[in-house]
Symmetry: D3
Subunit: 132 residues, 6 copies
């Protein structure tokens, strides 16, 4: 399965992101460790779900970067810090720019309301580390 | 305020969309009627909020079409049929394509899970009318 | 149990509200019919829950009217049309004013974001019938 | 794919359920029609998702009936009427009893709060048709 | 009230669970300490609510174990880590098995989507401690 | 803009609140630091949103204290700890009483269900520090 696993064209590796942001580094470390657990558990439906999840964000009619922004906006709207962190890292790896980031977060703020603000505040830290 | 109200560059007018889709027509009719109520109520904070909402989706670092897709995905994730209809119409007016639509809805489905399916089903009707 | 059931001091009866608003009338009719089903089902935990629910909104350190507004705001934030209708009717019965209504809905809009707008639009109809 | 599609051991067919409940009949009719659209659209990721969804509720370490109750409780907690209807029908087809139904809905009510009540009220209609 | 408080038939005590899992131990410690506050506050409606909550999960037409799984699934769907931890501990005390656990979490994942994944990841730690 | 920024009539300053509650102190410290970032980012739409947010809770037809309780109840219903902390501090600064606090949290508990309990537990700590 992994042999044919497609990836978007990243401008930066996970490691490069981790070198720029301590928060990203810790997030990726935890995520990788836990994904090993998923591999070990070897639950067929979970692995299938992970596969769909991965393929949803590949380059297509909509460029991969914008798909990551979509993922970020819906994650913020649904108020999931871990999901926000993940899409922040992914969009950064794909070369997203700071003005794009601001406009994406504005969509999340307006759709989701003030309840989203604490999540945007927390997202600000890795975003500042990655986009400066 | 309205004098300087910016708009994205639409390929189609509201009326053209309404001519293609009965669901869109009814949705827009209701929306326009109710917005008149909002104008009459003249509530300062509500009008300000509407203004921010409008400006969030303007052409910018992220193209207006992708912002509409973002709006669609977060609306589906938060499961709001009216919001979905609105962004379906807007993305259509901006010239969005059928493959883009499929990929955007896939993001919503994977992030939001099976709970999102009934909303995607209902969205299918105006989408089919508008994209065929 | 019903013998000692306390009620807030209403300025208007259900019937008076139903006479002013067709939407309220239909809502109350359905609600009463379904509550008969609940009575018949005689589920102990459900009846207990209904009791807590009823007593939560009684006059207390916080006046009953403001508790209804709280109920309205959280219902709008959680986007439940039926719950909104219920608290609209209750606040009207307790003599709530139009400016209070506008300010309560502003809290819901700002906290919940644009995703709340379709619910506020739908709430506008019974509100207009009841407050004019 | 369909050739090897497993099913739980139903006591009743869709048609038998539809014969007992008009609401169930209409729900199933719409659902089948829309699933034809999904088949036509032939979106690979959506079909994969539908597959995982189907397989999640099969007989296993947890009996299929209880999985349907789980689906019902989480659907009520997330307040999705269509999902509730679906799991009501499925649990009925698997021979679920009326006391089970009451206890499952109690979990949903206590976890989700009064905001869930309007959904339980609406669920009451097909439930009464199917369990009497 | 506590004199007549019914309990399901547990296979393990809180203490036995706490001995197997450090996360469970800390969770239970905090929970007990805070419940003392609730007792002290002596708020009639809160105590009533806690009582309904307790009785909802008792052995009945649906076995207590499956009710705990239902609680787990809806807690995951609504994305509440503390609630997940609580039902993980309870299902363990009632003798739930590892395959049951996997199937219950699959329901939560499919219904709730990828937004649920970070919560399942965090649940993995006490689950691994308790089920190995 | 700040020159004409209106404020409700507080009985206590932020500092007085911070002196009574360590949790409040840390919360306010973080909030102030992050608001500086918002000021620096100078995003027009975000600043507009913050302004609407601020003005929504001013003294009006509904007294500022009750607006803060409304904010608290909807924050608890939507399960946002940071938002709860903010409204706890604000209502304290406006002179809210302990019985009011209990009644407001009861609304949140009944509307939102047991899923709200962990948030109320966490809110208990700053509340106890501030209201004793």
């Amino acid at each position: 399965m992994n042999a044919e696993r497609k990836e978007p064209t990243y401008l930066f590796t996970d490691r490069q992101v981790a070198d720029k942001s301590e928060i990203a580094r810790r997030f990726l470390e935890t995520r990788n460790r836990l994904n090993e657990n998923v591999d070990k558990a070897d639950n067929f439906l979970v692995k299938r779900f992970y596969n769909i999840d991965h393929n949803t964000y590949l380059e297509g009619a909509i460029p991969a970067t914008y798909k990551e922004w979509m993922g970020l906006v819906v994650s913020a709207g649904l108020r999931c810090d871990d999901c926000i962190n993940y899409h922040v890292i992914q969009s950064c790896r794909l070369g997203a720019t700071r003005p794009e980031r601001e406009e994406a977060l504005n969509v999340a703020l307006v759709v989701g309301g003030s309840i989203v603000i604490p999540h945007l505040r927390r997202a600000d830290e890795p975003l500042t580390e990655l986009y400066s």
